[in-house]
């Protein structure tokens, strides 16, 4: 069946400004839609990566000793003892930096002494309750034992290492590809050795935005606050965290006059903060793209409506000489389809160009062509839908209009 493309096309070409404008809108809309979606999906994937951490049930406490009589170890023991005795608390540990908090300690590890140290890995200090306090899953080996937990570093032995470490599976795989990491020995920046006693998976460390947020290792040591704060991590029973946070804050703020409690906060707070720019980007791109599509649709709709109203007489004439209602509908849909197709073709070129620019800016892989195919389909369908109602209105024009003068 012929869709009367040729007469429609020649009519279009005689009055092309409106058509060109609509096609141009569709082209830009396609380029934006496809690339925005590509970025949004990447951000969503980034934020959706497993952390292995029971983020929704962990509270974070920052405690900073400041007087000259403040003693780190007794203070830690007292605080942890009280925290662990609280009903509703599953586990509590002490560390030096906030998991997922975008700050912490990175140190090199190598598999042979004196090997070139090319990478730093996120080092996290915990005690024997650390894995439980984070909700991490041990997939091989064992947890730290109580007697393995070392005293904090002091200003006079800052380079001291530990004999045992627990590593993430990703780090184990990076250091010892395709080997069983348990029992393997690694060396720190001063060639001090440690044995891998356990492997956890999945896990994300303190730097969610780094290239390898899962290159993490845990050391059995109490933290040295380096002039900053000690960080307690408290994991509660599901649903109990919100009620426990004010209680914890109130008690700890008074329990020791030689320190201050900076804050007690849910771990989600820090994760969200680390992902703030990704989240903002996601919201912004989605909103603007949706608006852009809406504006384009309304434009198509309004223009089609106008076209119909200016052509009432022609439509009436066509009806009078025998065109059926669906011929009229088809005429407008084919016309709109031609415009949309032209727009989409130009849009593909624009989308690829924009995608190329983005891939350079973000040093990311080039735009996935499935997105382009999807975008083309979506815009085509939306374009036809927008023209549907005006086309129906055109079909409703009675043949008698042809015989009237304006």
């Amino acid at each position: 069946m012929s869709y009367e493309v040729r007469p429609i096309l020649s009519a279009l070409l005689r009055n092309r400004t409106g058509a060109v404008l609509v096609a141009l809108q569709i082209a830009i809309a396609l380029a934006v839609l496809v690339n925005a979606l590509y970025i949004v999906v990447q951000r969503a994937e980034k934020m959706g990566r497993p952390t292995g951490i029971d983020v929704d049930n962990v509270a974070v406490i920052a405690s900073a000793g400041f007087t000259q009589r403040f003693q780190t170890v007794p203070s830690i023991q007292e605080d942890l003892g009280w925290l662990r005795s609280l009903p509703g608390v599953v586990a509590a540990t002490v560390t030096g930096s906030i998991p997922l908090g975008d700050g912490g300690n990175n140190e090199p590890l190598v598999t042979r002494p004196d090997e070139q140290r090319n990478y730093n890995y996120n080092q996290v200090e915990i005690d024997e309750h650390g894995l439980a306090a984070l909700g991490l899953r041990l997939v091989a080996g064992r947890n730290f034992r109580r007697d393995e937990i070392q005293p904090p570093l002091t200003k006079s032995d800052v380079s001291r290492f530990v004999p045992e470490i627990i590593v993430s599976r990703a780090l184990a795989e990076h250091l010892f590809p395709h080997q069983d990491p348990l029992g393997k020995v690694v060396y720190d920046s001063n060639n001090q050795a440690a044995t891998i006693v356990g492997v956890v998976d999945p896990v994300m460390g303190c730097f969610p935005s780094s290239d390898h947020p899962d290159w993490v290792y845990f050391v059995p040591r109490l933290p040295f606050p380096f002039g900053g704060s000690l960080i307690y991590l408290v994991r509660t029973q599901p649903g109990q965290r919100a009620a426990l946070i004010p209680r914890i804050e109130a008690y700890l703020a008074k329990s020791n006059p030689d320190r201050v409690i900076d804050w007690v906060r849910p771990l989600n707070f820090f994760r969200d903060l680390s992902y703030l720019s990704d989240r903002a980007m996601e919201i912004y791109l989605t909103t603007v793209t949706a608006l852009l599509i809406a504006v384009t649709c309304l434009g198509i709709f309004a223009l089609a409506t106008f076209n119909v109203s200016t052509r009432t007489k022609q439509i009436g004439t066509r009806r009078a000489v025998g065109a059926r209602r669906r011929d009229i509908v088809r005429y407008f849909l084919v016309e709109n389809g031609l415009i949309t197709t032209a727009g989409v073709v130009v849009g593909c070129a624009l989308a690829l160009a924009a995608g190329y620019w983005l891939s350079l800016e973000y040093s990311l892989p080039r735009l996935n062509l499935y997105y382009l195919a999807g975008g083309v389909l979506v815009l085509w369908v939306i374009g036809q839908l927008a023209a549907w109602q005006p086309a129906r209105r055109a079909a409703a024009v009675p043949p008698s209009v042809a015989t009237r003068t304006v």
Binding site: V32, A64, T67, K155, N190, G227, A302, E361
Partner: protein, 445 residues
Amino acid sequence: MQGYYLRLALKSFGRNPGLTALMVLAIALGIAVCIMTLTVYHAMSGNPIWWKNDRLYAVTMDSWDPNRPYRLRHTDEPPPEMTYKDAQYLFRSGIPERKVVMYSTDGIISGVGSVPAAHLATRVTTADFFAMFEAPFLYGAGWSAGADDPAQPVIVLSRTENEKLFGGIDSVGRTLRWNDHEFRVAGVLDDWFPRPRFYDLNGGDFQQPDSAYIPFGWGTELELLNNEETDCWKPEKLDNFTDFVASDCVWLQMWVELPDGASRARMQSFIDEYWGEQHRAGRFQRPRDNRLTNVAGWLRANHVVDTDNRVLVGLAFAFLAVCLINTVGLLLAKFLNGATVTGVRRALGASRRQIFTQHLVEVGALAALGALLGLALAAFGLVAVHHMYAAAHNYERGGYQELMHFDSVGVLWAVILACVATLAAGLYPAWRIGRLPPAVYLKSQ
């Protein structure tokens, strides 16, 4: 005449209220999105001390590992911070008019009446900091270079901190305890928030300035560690603070103020000479890369305006383009639809020029409405974004939030953008309608 055209325009709006609303909305949305994005971009890309752009220079030396660059991604970038020993040596130079070596640490202030002890970010800095970066004093002043070493127990507070501790009074001469050591207030800064915080970008580009400042000598005296970025590459024992300050770890920010090109050249050769000596002695085994970077260059090198911001500006303009193209199409359709009336007017003696002006007035009225609504939408949008960043604001790393406000520049942009864009969009339809031969439209169909 213009008043008459305006009345005609309003009549014309009334004839197609839906279409008019759509056009105004399209213009408004396009402008709102552009304004929001540009406001943030403008704030992020600002140079907060542009008048000293060619006087202030960040000093960096590539003291990093001979076997690998400091950054694996950007291999040509040296470490942004200095080692203690290099900074100490260069600081002795008499070439710069002013010079500063500094870092940030954690401190706890106590001992002020019943005010509870609290943590606060403290800058450990040499004396020129305030004069160099033009930090304004509300009360008192900074300290002299003599107070840096041996370190005098003086402290400068931010205005906010002074309000918290002393209720905002002139607290110069009062004492307080900083990390349990007694300090005397030497000065209180007035409100001061350079955005971005160019002199130290380690804690976040838009972080607030520190709450307190103490002389640099306290760093070694109290063995204060850096609470921001400290990077080490060399396998070396760091068993005490003496080891640390003698190490190849980088952790200090260094800036110099050089009044002219000649002093700059002298400073550069002074650094290069030092590099040469050290190189011969076995340090600095990477290619020579000693830099004096001005403020604008420093902000660029540290990627303060990130890719996201640039992408969003591109998106905003694409959006505006769609909105305007939309408007052109709709205006064209609308004007051509009214061609019969225009034909009559032409036949009655209106010139092309008058027809053009009449339609341009209509477009102008549309633009004004769109700009107003766009401004309102942008204000609303910025409030929404503000809320999104509220979380960050309550944390120490706040500062982004302050970027999300209208400034006079933003409003000006809005108005200019709205007028230029819409008039540009309306020009073609108005011209086109003026060109129509009146006879065709006068004929009865």
